[in-house]
Symmetry: C3
Subunit: 308 residues, 3 copies
């Protein structure tokens, strides 16, 4: 149980072996179906969501409660002491003294790292800044592994907003722990992957290429990982409309791809995927969201050092 | 256990027999007093409240927790993925993959029906649009039955906003499953019961009459079911003030009625009932609210197919 | 178990003996470390927080859940029936019929007293108005007792906003149940302790003196209890800036004090304590916050009459 008592700030805090052990535990929970366990019945998990979130927050809450544990916390900082001007470190110290571990979502880069330094108990990054969302990446990797039996050897595209979407950056980092065949980074020029992420890919020897359109590469792909392009990123609304349209995932596009091609998305999605795709064999994102519960159950049992 | 695994979108989804079985289970829970059970300890209930609610949300939460189950969810859509533009169906799919059943409150007509189509697990309508609030109607019926020993043969007035208050419309529909002696629909002309509800009353052969004032009918009544008249319904504030005054339930009014006359209200109330009524023998609304817990406990056990 | 079934509106609702019994129970919980018990597993606690709060709300929630009980409730009144205009008494009646006890936080003086009159089940004041915050005072007293082995015989300063900070007034009242050597009331002239609180000190024979600066008295002190001075109290922002600076707790100030001097604060703090103090031997406020859980666990078991 190598993760016992540890913080999870970045997906790179884990080794491939630790991730694989996690996935095996998630397999067990998934096989057993919905149930409640008594594995963590003496534990309380704090959910400190300074930024809106539904999926991450509710799936952690579900995971903890299905394990017999309890949660406390807040969603949105309005009704909390943060609104009174309390520092992040003071809020974290408080939660650390109430709960046995903390899941943190925060808009600022480095918030989870700071929290991990302050707290004696484990801190799990539920997404901070523009780069880290390790538990989402665990789910993404788990989904690929479940669908293809492996992560190694696959052609994977990350498409959409690669600059500001923390899920895309975090998955790129996560893939350096595996051996994908090729990584296709597909985005409008304003939203290309940040140099610090590319540097990690380079160092890890991950082969990748940069593209402006999915049309150019769709025939090569096993997986398309889509992220939402947010209007706020574009000073000019016309520019946004143009970009949005050309990154829309349609059935027509997907039909040009290989047999077995799958579309993943961290969700929520707005209209970046044509509705018809939802009901096609390409759509893996609802299943991906559902696997959020067993993967987070696995993580919690490993962090708390409980045998499943 | 005819309700096992079923959705509850409208009160008309249930038969009289199913309602009566439900009330018998509620009787059992009520007789035993406050306790916690282990009946649903392997279940998680999602509370998806897109609209503000205290009573419905907290009584479902209390009911689920007293049954040993757990809840997840949100109250108000601000801090959720809905604020990011996610569709209702995507949100429901997510909750459906986390929880074992969903309670939905939504401002739009048909939201619960749509959710029930999307979700594999049972969806319970916690109030949507202008017409459906089946669990409130269950509590209303249960209250009448507890107070009078029967619902059949009673003279029941629905008073106040019959056009926009979903509780009034839903109770009117509910009463078609029973044989009230007469239904008095009492409202200002702007707020009369919608034709589609009247049509269901007609088809069911429920005798009803339409009135502009409680004064005209109070002597006939066993039950007055009051709903709040909302200021927003009136373009002219003067008009609202006039209407509000003439629909106020006062002790003087009630004293003109039969012995045993009872006032019900789904709550919250603002000033549509004179405060002196709260402490009189006429007031049944606090007791009605309290029965929300055993009735919702009964519903949850029937939906999950658990023997009580 | 003298507290069984009782309301806690003011710290003066308890005797010294009852507080000491409470502290002994808190000692037990604290000694055993973090755990979950089954002591209150048949109980539901309503947390009715009409005003923002993190520490009080989350530590009550943690306390209840570590005791095996459940919580329901709301934080902030926006998404509740209060926003629809419901009266406090109606909201309390509802919660009273759902839960086994209620913790109330409200901005209005007397809200908890009113709630206690309406509710059949115990009401615990989680802070109301400008004067009462009994559970915070229990934690403050417990902290002093743990740090010094006693409350009697100590020189204690209350510093900052003594007029509007309910924690300071409540602790002053609480100290009348003990025999502190001397109480130093240190505040800007606009924010002196209210006459009604001074009257209670006078009646109890507590020796106190009023000061404008900590510098004058720091050498005498065992405990400095600091409260936040809020900008909103000052019509003139310049005046606020001046006052704020002269009430800042710095390491330099504390070094002038006795050996063993401790700084307490109900938290959250903003910048009224120099950051360097956090890591010094003077800082007791993080420990004080942590003891919020065992003290509130003790209170809940005493209120519910459960043997620990």
């Amino acid at each position: 149980m190598g993760l016992k008592g540890r913080d999870v700030v970045s997906i790179l805090d884990l080794t491939r072996g630790e991730l694989e052990a996690l996935f095996e535990t998630a397999d067990k929970f998934d096989r057993r179906g919905r149930a409640r366990y008594r594995l963590l019945e003496d534990k309380v998990l704090a959910l400190a969501f300074f930024e809106p979130s539904t999926r991450t927050r509710l799936s952690f809450e579900t995971a903890m409660k299905r394990l017999g544990g309890e949660t406390i916390g807040f969603a949105g900082a309005e009704a909390t002491s943060v609104a009174k001007g309390e520092s992040l470190t003071d809020t974290i110290r408080m939660l650390d003294s109430y709960a046995d571990a903390i899941v943190l979502r925060h808009r600022y880069e480095g918030a989870a790292k700071l929290a991990a330094e302050v707290a004696e108990n484990p801190v799990i990054n539920g997404g901070d800044g523009r780069q880290h969302h390790p538990t989402q990446s665990m789910i993404d990797l788990y989904t690929i592994r479940r669908l293809f039996g492996t992560i190694d050897g696959l052609n994977i595209a990350l498409a959409g907003d690669l600059r500001y979407a923390r899920t895309a950056a975090s998955l790129a980092l996560a893939l350096t722990l595996f051996r994908p065949r090729h990584l296709y980074l597909v985005s409008p020029p304003q939203l290309t992957m940040r140099p610090e992420v590319l540097r990690v890919l380079d160092e890890a020897g991950v082969r990748y290429s940069v593209h402006g359109s999915l049309d150019d590469v769709v025939e090569e792909l096993d997986v398309i990982y889509v992220t939402r392009i947010q209007k706020e990123r574009f000073p000019d609304p016309m520019e946004y409309e143009k970009v949005r349209g050309s990154y829309r995932i349609t059935l027509d596009l997907l039909k040009k791809g290989r047999k077995g091609l799958k579309v993943l998305h961290p969700l929520p999605k707005v209209d970046e995927i044509e509705l018809a795709v939802d009901h096609s064999e390409y759509a893996a994102y609802f299943q991906q969201a559902a696997w959020g519960v067993p993967v987070r159950m696995a993580l919690l049992t490993h962090i708390f050092g409980v045998e499943v």
